[in-house]
């Protein structure tokens, strides 16, 4: 239970057990906690639906398409990856030349940037593919506004316009948009294998696994189109790592007819084996009970790699030094959090 909670998987575990053998099969003490987890899961889902509706209202007057990404997209499209998910921020994709208008509309509706550090503002707006997070002044929900799915300076840069052009409605008749299935999968792969954050690594891997099985089953030409799109967008490596890690942890999802195309994705031997080891180690649950030697090093190397991929060397070094300095000497002194104030906002 502790490992599942830490990896944001405990609600998924509860749903999986409920829908499978049934919770009655679980001993009483953990069963109570799983039942409570189901309550939390419903609540988070409700809140997310409500926030997406408000987002829709805030952006209703803008002519340009706003595409939902990740968790919000899975939920609105009714995908299996939404089941038991711990939703956090809402991620959206908008055209780059309209990002100012979108930010303005969101600010008018109460979502503002709390990022006061000028360096961080510049980091996001100049180098990254997204604005600093916008947080709602009352409700505390957060929206991440992207104009593409990878940094423009990245080795895996992707043109946001081609993703937007191929977007599809979340559900028949819905006013909400999501990425087309093959782009959703590629986004998930590039997020996990180029971003360098593995706190929810196993969760992200399971998302990808769910997406592949769902779309693979629903669309007969899904796999050939996926490989072609990876080629067109230059995302062969992230897709290779995604498929090899999923095969390692969860079983091979690729149909036998596509073997050749899987092999065509493979990078040269040395990076392939090194990344295979690093990712296999980093994707283990982040928890003291699961700790194995080398995990810290693997995650750190992948973290550095993710920055290496996204920024030129001279900027990278300055950025990492600054981050390390601020970690040791934060600009704001730490304050004890209030520990017993009940939730307000009836």
């Amino acid at each position: 239970m502790s490992i599942a909670r830490r990896g944001a998987l405990w609600m998924r575990l509860a749903q999986h057990l409920r829908d499978g053998p049934g919770l009655a099969a679980v001993p009483e003490a953990p069963r109570r906690q799983l039942e409570a987890a189901l309550v939390t899961g419903s609540s988070i889902c409700r809140d997310m639906i409500s926030e997406v509706q408000r987002l829709q209202q805030a952006l209703a007057k803008l002519p340009e398409r706003c595409v939902l990404l990740k968790g919000a997209a899975y939920l609105c499209a009714g995908l299996p990856a939404a089941k038991g998910r711990v939703f956090g921020d809402i991620d959206i994709l908008v055209p780059q030349h309209h990002i100012g208008e979108v930010e303005g509309a969101l600010m008018a509706a109460g979502w503002i940037s709390h990022e006061t550090d000028r360096y961080n503002q510049r980091y996001y707006r100049q180098w990254m593919h997204e604005l600093p997070p916008l947080t709602h002044v009352q409700r505390g929900s957060t929206i991440d506004v992207h104009h593409t799915i990878t940094p423009p300076t990245s080795a895996f840069r992707v043109d946001g316009a081609s993703l937007l052009a191929a977007a599809v409605p979340a559900a028949p008749g819905s006013a909400l948009w999501v990425l087309q299935p093959i782009d959703m999968v590629l986004h998930s792969a590039v997020h996990l294998f180029a971003e360098g954050e593995f706190d929810r690594g196993l969760r992200d891997l399971l998302d990808l696994h769910d997406l592949l099985h769902h779309f693979g089953g629903e669309h007969p030409d899904f796999w050939p189109r996926l490989f072609n799109r990876a080629q067109a967008l230059g995302l062969q490596r992230p897709l290779h790592h995604a498929l090899s890690q999923i095969t390692f942890w969860l079983g091979d999802p690729v149909p036998a007819t596509c073997r050749d195309q899987v092999l065509a994705l493979r990078p040269p031997w040395l990076p392939r084996v090194t990344m295979g080891w690093l990712l296999g180690t980093a994707l283990r649950p982040v928890h003291p009970l699961c700790h194995r030697p080398g995990e810290g090093l693997a995650r750190w190397l992948l973290y550095v790699r993710s920055h290496w991929l996204r920024m030129p060397v001279h900027l990278l070094l300055a950025h990492l030094v600054r981050k390390a300095w601020l970690r040791q000497f934060p600009t704001r002194p730490a304050r004890p959090a209030s520990t017993d104030a009940p939730a307000t906002g009836v």
Partner: protein
């Protein structure tokens, strides 16, 4: 590994002050074997990096990661109690959890909701030594399944002037060492009267909702208040009302429907005891 009411906690810490506090306050609680499933594992660890030695800190670790900002090492024991409260209020959604004291007499429970500083803990600490059983001083657990209030039966937290008030009121009461300079001032915990521990797993039906307010120099006064307003105020004082959604609202309404609701102002504990005695005998 200790059981308090419906929860089992695995409590670990390198700090002596935590061990001493636990031994004093939880010495008579049911203890489980170390390999039994614990609902929550609370680890009060030393500070990270240099803060282990320089101006040493204590941190609450849950699922292997810190939950709050670190506190000074001297606050380790109160941090343990606050952490145990957090575990329950953040996870135990099989209950509607209200920030309130709960006491019981004759099988009927009185819930005393109040924001911090309104004197509910002092009132609670006094009443449990005058014929009322302690269910909780901080977290009222209303079962979503059966609507009864379930005991937590943990030591009563007291602060600042209340500590001396209760020491004078009940000289036999046992207290842990006082921790000074916390965000709430000086804080300590009072041992639960041993007889109450025997009833740790006995719930009670809610009969009274009493909103206490300490007013210096005021006589004890119990004034009836509206049920509808009480539902709103109880919801405001609840940790997980939002999470529970409609079932939580319905449970709360059922709860208040069968109860009598009061505003209670007082200054002297003895007057308060008489007022509550009258409440209990008025059926």
């Amino acid at each position: 590994m200790v059981s308090t009411g419906p929860f089992s906690f695995r409590l670990t810490s390198p700090f002596d002050s935590v061990a001493k506090g636990l031994s004093l306050l939880y010495g008579r609680y049911p203890v489980e074997a170390a390999d039994v499933y614990a609902d929550f594992a609370v680890h009060i660890d030393r500070g990270a990096g240099l803060r282990r030695w320089i101006k040493p800190q204590s941190r609450f670790m849950f699922d292997g990661q810190p939950v709050f900002e670190p506190l000074p090492e001297a606050h380790a024991y109160p941090l343990l109690e606050w952490s145990m409260n957090w575990c329950i209020s953040a996870h135990a959604h099989q209950y509607l959890i209200i920030h309130a004291a709960v006491i019981e007499r004759g099988g009927r429970a009185a819930v005393l909701p109040a924001p911090p500083g309104s004197g509910k803990s002092t009132l609670c600490a006094g009443l449990v030594h005058r014929g009322w059983r302690l269910l909780s001083d901080e977290l009222a657990l209303v079962s979503m399944a059966d609507g009864l209030v379930w005991p937590l039966c943990r030591p009563v937290s007291l602060k600042n002037a209340s500590i001396d008030v209760i020491r004078r009121f009940e000289p036999t009461a046992l207290f842990n060492r006082v921790t000074h300079d916390t965000t709430k001032g000086s804080v300590t915990h009072m041992q639960v009267p041993p007889a109450h521990l025997d009833a740790m797993h006995t719930p009670a039906a809610l009969r009274w909702v009493v909103f206490p307010k300490y007013l210096a120099g005021a006589p004890a006064k119990m004034a009836a208040r509206s049920r509808a307003g009480s539902v709103v105020d109880l919801a405001r004082n609840s940790f997980n009302f939002g999470v529970l959604g409609t079932p939580g609202f319905e449970r709360l309404c059922d709860l208040v429907e069968g109860s009598r609701c009061f505003d209670f102002s007082y200054s002297a504990l003895d007057d308060a005891v008489s007022a509550f005695d009258q409440l209990a005998s008025a059926a």
